[in-house]
């Protein structure tokens, strides 16, 4: 390749969210016709980097960024995604952005329709121009053809298989003659293997026409198959930029998750493999949108802290949500040797399990209600605590005094910063809200406690406190804790064993002392696909 000016040049990009640095001095180049793979764990900064590129409003609203973005050597500063689109940068998101009742043609040219003039337009403006459907159809056809797939431009999107929807999205981006750079965020996540293969071939065809492509995926094999270069992000920094031919899957995986492990797990030392099994899960499936669990079997020992990790969308969050009855599930969950009823949150709670949801504001809290209610409610409803029977048990009267006492107790124990127990939960900071969620689960006094993403969206100081609270609770009460987290380091610092979930299945269970490479390979499904090929 001749020395030329790169198509896109991002120089020294640094971005902070509320004092939290998410990108540090990131520099990235991409040339015409090049396919660049962008990999990193969740929270490594991939999406923030792309948001900056597209001028998403969330960036401006949180104080902008430092560094520069240039296209063809000219510095740009997009104010919104439409500016980026005009400059020839397009993006295909993970979720489809299509109108179901429109045809492929109408979707490909959505808000970019080819229009006829007519008499009325002169008076009432361009929005009364009529659509030139034949010409639109021709453009759509050409765009689909460029991808090398066969989709009738007249098919309604609602009637398309998933793969065709993805291609329609792609066709929409590339129908514009000015398209230079295409960003694809996990485009193969919803596709079958053969569809994914077709897509990869299409992408190579596109690159051959001179379009540059940034390809974001966790499926490293795909990256190795089609990318020219790979950029690996970790903790907001580029840890490595490497030509595909100079690396292999193991190295990439290690770079992606690896970190010098300083916080050696103290729990590991007194962990005893031979203790009895408290919870066993057999062939669990859970229908949780975006976090489907397909076939999970595992055994959790009494008194341990069991970690479940894996990349986003692979199903790790589906496991607790399914066991606790929040999403349709099937299979067997056996607690204390007794099977529990699935799809019934009350049964799960009654059996002695509790759950701190990853969706703190959506599921975890009554935002408009006082803290004491938030803490006591689940225990009250599921276990009839904090109630006084009146008229010989005919009426279950709420014992406000007891509720307040238990709330005060936990607020003190967990050091929750609030004005009083009457404060509405929405007024607390993220970290303190999380502690309220913990208090709610502690108040149930469960035998098995599921904690899902306990440190998501809270600041560093609060993170340590939340983890400490969990560890203390585990030690003091002998409660078995199952912690689900996207942050491997967090799991390694507190858990006795860590299971990694990939594509809805357990890819493997490792001790926290296992190497980054071992974890990385499990996360990207390398181990599993090898195992499959032996079948």
């Amino acid at each position: 390749m001749t020395e030329q000016q790169p198509l896109l040049h991002m120089q020294g990009i640094t971005k902070e969210y509320f004092g939290n640095r998410v990108l540090t001095d990131v520099t990235l180049d991409i040339n015409r016709g090049e396919v660049l793979g962008l990999v990193g764990e969740n929270g490594a900064g991939k999406s923030t980097l792309m948001n900056i590129l597209f001028g998403m409003s969330v960036i401006v609203q949180t104080g902008g960024y430092t560094g520069s973005v240039s296209i063809d050597g000219k510095e740009v500063n997009f104010q919104n995604p439409f500016d980026a689109l005009k400059a020839g940068i397009g993006m295909v998101h993970q979720e489809f952005s299509l109108i179901p009742g429109f045809t492929a043609t109408e979707n490909i040219l959505l808000n970019g329709e080819i229009l006829h003039d007519n008499i009325v337009t002169k008076i009432f403006g361009p929005r009364l121009k009529t659509l030139n459907l034949p010409e639109m159809r021709a453009i759509a056809e050409k765009s689909i053809e460029l991808l090398g797939v066969e989709i009738s431009p007249d098919t309604l999107v609602a009637e398309m298989p998933v793969g065709h929807k993805q291609f329609t999205e792609l066709a929409r981006e590339i129908h514009r003659p000015e398209m230079k750079l295409l960003v694809l965020d996990e485009p193969t996540a919803v596709l079958t293997e053969s569809e994914a293969q077709v897509l990869l071939t299409s992408l190579r065809r596109l690159a051959a026409t001179g379009i540059a492509i940034i390809f974001i995926t966790h499926r490293l094999q795909e990256i190795l198959d089609i990318c020219d270069r790979i950029v690996i992000l970790r903790d907001g920094q580029v840890v490595k930029e490497v030509a595909t031919s100079d690396t292999d899957i193991g190295q990439v995986a290690e770079l992606m998750v690896g970190r010098s492990v300083s916080a050696k797990s103290a729990a590991t030392e007194d962990y005893n493999e031979s203790t009895e099994t408290i919870l066993s899960v057999d062939q669990l499936w859970v229908d949780m949108p975006g976090e489907t669990v397909r076939d999970v079997s595992l055994e959790v020992h009494k008194g341990e802290i069991f970690g479940i990790g894996g990349l986003a969308g692979q199903g790790k969050l589906g496991i607790p949500n399914g066991i606790m009855g929040l999403y349709p599930a099937g299979g067997a969950v056996i607690l204390h040797g007794k099977p529990t009823r699935l799809n019934d949150p009350a049964a799960a709670l009654a059996a002695g399990m509790a759950f701190v949801s990853e969706d703190r504001r959506g599921v975890g809290l009554l935002l408009e209600e006082a803290l004491d209610w938030n803490i006591a409610f689940t225990a009250m409803q599921a276990q009839n605590k904090f109630l006084r029977p009146l008229l010989g048990g005919l009426i279950q009267w709420r014992d406000d005094k007891a509720i307040q006492n238990v709330a005060t107790e936990y607020i003190k124990a967990l050091d929750i910063k609030c004005t009083s127990t009457d404060q509405p939960a929405q007024e607390l900071s993220g970290g303190n809200q999380q502690k309220i969620c913990l208090a709610k689960a502690f108040a149930v006094q469960p035998d098995v406690l599921f904690v899902s993403e306990p440190t998501r969206g809270i600041d560093v100081g609060a993170k340590a406190l939340v983890l400490e609270a969990l560890r203390t609770y585990n030690r003091k009460n002998g409660t078995t804790i199952i912690m689900i987290s996207s942050e491997l380091e967090e799991l390694r610092s507190i858990c006795d064993r860590i299971a990694i979930v990939d594509e809805g299945r357990i890819a493997g269970i490792l001790p926290p002392s296992a190497t980054a490479k071992e974890f990385g390979l499990l996360m990207i499904g390398k181990v599993k696909s090898e195992a499959n090929s032996h079948e």
């Binding site: 952005s97 808000n111 659509l131 499936w285 489907t292 397909r294």
Partner: protein, 369 residues
């Protein structure tokens, strides 16, 4: 798919898709012989009522296209039209000229009303229908304030025939003698004994043509996109809120013209009641014609107007024959109007809940099924 099974499929789908109109046809088929009306009389009634009501019902189509549901706010347009008629009557301009002037005078008011409704509905996304209904009641209060207290006091009204004896406020009933059927009879034509309101039908045909053409414009196309998925439309750069406001403005203005056409046929303006049932009856007619909250077409309008009004004419007499009381029939037709709206909204909402579930399920992997 072979042609044979396709045919059988089409028939059964035709029945399921048009269950409501078919039910009404059966109902009416029983009621007509009971009522003892002659076919000549019924045909004449239907011709009259098609001319009278179609325009109003057509005004409901655009908001449905824009995904805003049944626009009960067309009463805002109806009230604008009535103010236009009151003013023109006050100025003493009659005939078809007065009619068009009334439309011209009412247009800016209808645009304003439509804009208000559009802005309000944009703030009540997801509950447009109930909001447009209550907004109609609210604006009715403002209308009464204007017509009953401000007209004759602040807005000068000289024509003593329309002013209350106390000196201000408009009388309960205004005789539109100059305007009565001025449009209907503009082009006189009689087939047999039945007078055909040719000019009115031309008007309605033009509106149908406009709606058909409008769906092919960029704006109409955008409306469909907004109606199906606001978020996707917004992401593609379509100005969603603006498009929704335009849909409501157009609907309101058309309803305003529709009400004027309606009133010239009736010949009397009941100042405080003429618009009361405008929305209910128009919506019920459209639904009886086979439309739903999210889908409505021009044929739905005409089938609906005919079926609804057949029932309307026939029910009291049939009730009298069957139950010995005309009131029963009258209550029955009111019940049907409200009932059909209730059932349609329930079915629509039910379907939406079901679809949401199905969409969720489609994300599920294939293995466990």
């Amino acid at each position: 798919m072979t042609r044979k099974t396709g045919f059988k499929d089409t028939i059964s789908r035709l029945f399921i898709g048009n269950a409501v109109p078919i039910m009404f046809i059966i109902l009416i088929a029983f009621a007509i012989p009971l009522s003892g009306f002659s076919s000549g009389y019924l045909i004449q009634e239907m011709v009259t009522r098609l001319g009278r009501d179609s325009f109003l019902v057509l005004s409901l189509l655009l908001p449905i296209m824009a995904g805003m549901g049944l626009n009960f706010g067309i009463v805002l347009g109806a009230m604008s039209g009535q103010i236009g008629i009151i003013l023109v009557t006050n100025w003493g301009i009659s005939g078809v000229g007065g009619l068009f002037l009334a439309m011209a005078v009412a247009t800016p008011l209808a645009v304003l009303m439509g804009w208000i409704a559009g802005v309000v509905l944009n703030r009540a996304k997801g509950r447009e229908m109930v909001t447009s209904l209550i907004l109609g009641y609210f604006i009715n209060g403002v209308y009464q304030l204007v017509v009953l207290y401000i007209m004759g006091k602040i807005i000068p009204i000289k024509n003593s025939a329309i002013v209350l004896s106390r000196g201000y406020g408009i009388r309960n009933a205004i005789d539109l003698k100059g305007m009565r059927q001025s449009l209907d009879k503009l082009i006189p034509l009689k087939i047999g004994d039945i007078p055909i309101p040719v000019a009115t039908f031309i008007f309605i045909a033009l509106l149908c043509l406009f709606i058909w053409w409008f769906a092919k414009t960029k704006l109409g196309h955008d409306m469909r996109a907004v109606g199906q998925d606001m978020a996707v439309a917004e992401d593609s750069g379509i100005k969603v809120e603006r498009t929704r406001i335009i849909a409501i403005i157009l609907s309101t203005v058309l309803a305003c013209y529709g009400q004027i056409i309606f009133l010239q046929n009736i010949g009397t303006l009941n100042t405080y009641n003429s618009h009361d049932q405008t929305a209910t009856f128009a919506v019920a007619a459209l639904l009886i014609g086979g439309a739903s909250v999210v889908r409505a077409s021009i044929p739905n309008v005409f089938i609906g107007v005919i079926l609804f009004h057949l029932m309307f004419v026939v029910a009291p007499v049939a009730g009298k024959e069957l139950m010995g009381s005309a009131m029963i029939g009258e209550y029955f037709r009111v019940f049907v109007s409200y009932g059909i709206i209730a059932v349609s909204i329930v079915l629509y909402s039910w379907k939406r809940v079901k679809e949401r579930e199905r969409a969720r399920r489609s994300l599920r992997g294939t293995k466990e099924l």
